[in-house]
């Protein structure tokens, strides 16, 4: 067996790949499910915190800033482990799926809150004043005038962050979520061959590449002429 053949046999073993393809596909579905949930809940929670912060009530804002800084500072894996192994001692036993979802949601919430907040504060004061001077309430000015502009500004950093954090679904393998990496790892142990990992990598590319492209498309589409 030449080196090249050995390489192919190790990472592109067709027999092993065929055998574990269904597992990887199942893992892909779990990853999609987890990723979609994280994106929705993380962005909604982040936007909600940013809106709450824009009201400008100091005690609330201090709490928001502390929470956000905390979850930006902690490595996502630490949060996952903490929730999965730590919460049961407090009488709650979230499943590995829920633990991973909750952890990544908190992280995406924290980062997206900062991005939304930066977007909101970057809108010139004159936009608020124009809106308020025509009789729009604070909330109406925020929803109709400030937020649409802020969200357009935040799309590039937001898509980057969202993709980066969503890829963290692979961390779920540590607490045995049967997502792509988890399924691939156990296939590797069962088959004594790393080829399933290649399949897993391919699945990630197929999954996240469209997200990257979608992000780019959104950036172009949401731009408006100045």
């Amino acid at each position: 067996m030449s080196n090249w053949e050995r390489f192919l046999d190790t990472f592109f073993n067709a027999r092993v790949m065929a055998r574990y393809l269904p597992d990887i596909l199942y893992g892909t579905l779990i990853t999609i499910e987890l990723a979609a949930l994280v994106i929705v809940s993380g962005l909604v929670a982040g936007l909600a915190l940013a809106l709450l912060r824009s009201v400008g009530f100091r005690p609330v804002n201090l709490l928001i800033v502390f929470t956000v800084d905390l979850f930006r500072a902690l490595p996502p894996l630490v949060i996952i482990v903490f929730i999965y192994f730590g919460l049961p001692t407090a009488g709650l036993s979230p499943s590995s799926f829920v633990s991973t979802w909750l952890s990544l949601t908190l992280v995406l919430m924290a980062f997206s809150e900062e991005i939304f907040w930066a977007g909101i504060t970057s809108i010139p004061k004159g936009q608020w004043e124009a809106a308020r001077s025509t009789g729009l309430s604070y909330g109406q000015a925020l929803i109709n005038v400030v937020l649409p502009q802020a969200i357009r500004l935040t799309i590039p950093p937001l898509t980057n962050r969202t993709i980066a954090i969503t890829k963290g679904t692979a961390l779920g393998s540590v607490v045995a979520v049967s997502e792509i990496l988890g399924m691939a790892s156990s296939a590797v142990s069962n088959s004594y061959n790393p080829s399933p990992l290649t399949l897993g990598a391919a699945a990630y590319v197929i999954l996240f590449f469209p997200m990257v492209v979608l992000g780019r498309w959104l950036e172009t589409r949401m731009r408006w002429k100045r």
Binding site: A130, R132, S133, T134, G135, L136
Partner: protein, 247 residues
């Protein structure tokens, strides 16, 4: 001066920390009257204007617009503000909306018009400023002068009782100033009460009923344009008029 008062501001003080920006200013604007406010930068003229619709919170004093006490906590400020149009130096159009969208937003959200009604009123307002054919354009596609005219349309669409202009032509290239002043002149002829903070002395001479000269947070002198520009009685007024007329 004919007509009853549309704006009645009394004893307006404004402090920013230790800074005393307005020192007990009185300003009464009658129906159909155009009051022109001049003064060096930092004299408090913009702050005074912004107190008239409470974009700036007066530290003390009273502001009545169309008989409504703006500083009364029971006053529905958002409702009252429909009656007070404001035009800003930097236009402040909403860049993500078309000209028509800019004009109709408050009509729909504040005045409670249906989209069809708002569109109709919005198009009429744009026609009044000579931009009926630009309804579908976004601010980025319009010149500065056109943007400022859309901003005027946005305010007059709500049928205000008084219009406040905060240096409406200062951000414009010289060749675009005329179109905005033209719209303001039309508005004035239609009988709109107006308070204009500006350095457009030619416009003041032609269109103003009264000119106020402000300095250091007080009204130093007021009178007809002729009186203020030709024969000011105060030394500070003379110095200021001399400075702006030299260029």
């Amino acid at each position: 001066m004919p007509g009853k008062a549309v704006v009645e501001a009394r004893g307006i003080h404004k402090h920013y920390g230790a800074l005393h920006v307005l020192k007990g200013v009185d300003l009464v604007v009658a129906e159909r009257e155009l009051v022109f406010v001049i003064g060096p930068s930092g004299s408090g003229k913009s702050t005074l204007l912004r107190c008239l619709n409470r974009l700036e919170e007066p530290s003390s004093g009273s502001v009545l617009v169309d008989g409504v006490d703006l500083l009364d906590p029971r006053t529905d400020l958002n409702h009252a503000r429909q009656r007070i149009g404001m035009v800003f130096q930097s236009f402040n159009l909403y860049p993500h909306m078309t000209a028509l969208g800019n004009v109709t937003l408050a009509l729909r959200k504040v005045a409670g018009k249906s989209r069809a009604e708002a569109d109709e009123l919005g198009r009429a307002a744009l026609a009044r400023v000579g931009l009926a054919d630009r309804a579908g354009h976004t601010p980025g596609e319009l010149s500065g002068g056109q943007q400022q005219r859309v901003a005027i349309a946005r305010a007059i669409a709500l049928e205000p009782r008084v219009m406040l202009f905060d240096e409406p032509t200062s951000a414009l290239d010289p060749e675009l100033v005329g179109s905005v002043l033209g719209v303001m002149r039309d508005l004035r002829e239609s009988g709109m009460a107006m308070v204009v903070v500006s350095h457009e002395m030619g416009f003041a001479r032609n269109a103003a009923d009264r000119v106020l000269f402000m300095d250091h947070g007080s009204i130093v002198e007021e009178g007809t344009p002729a009186a203020i520009f030709e024969s000011p009685s105060q030394q500070r007024t003379r110095a200021f008029i001399g400075q702006i007329q030299r260029h």
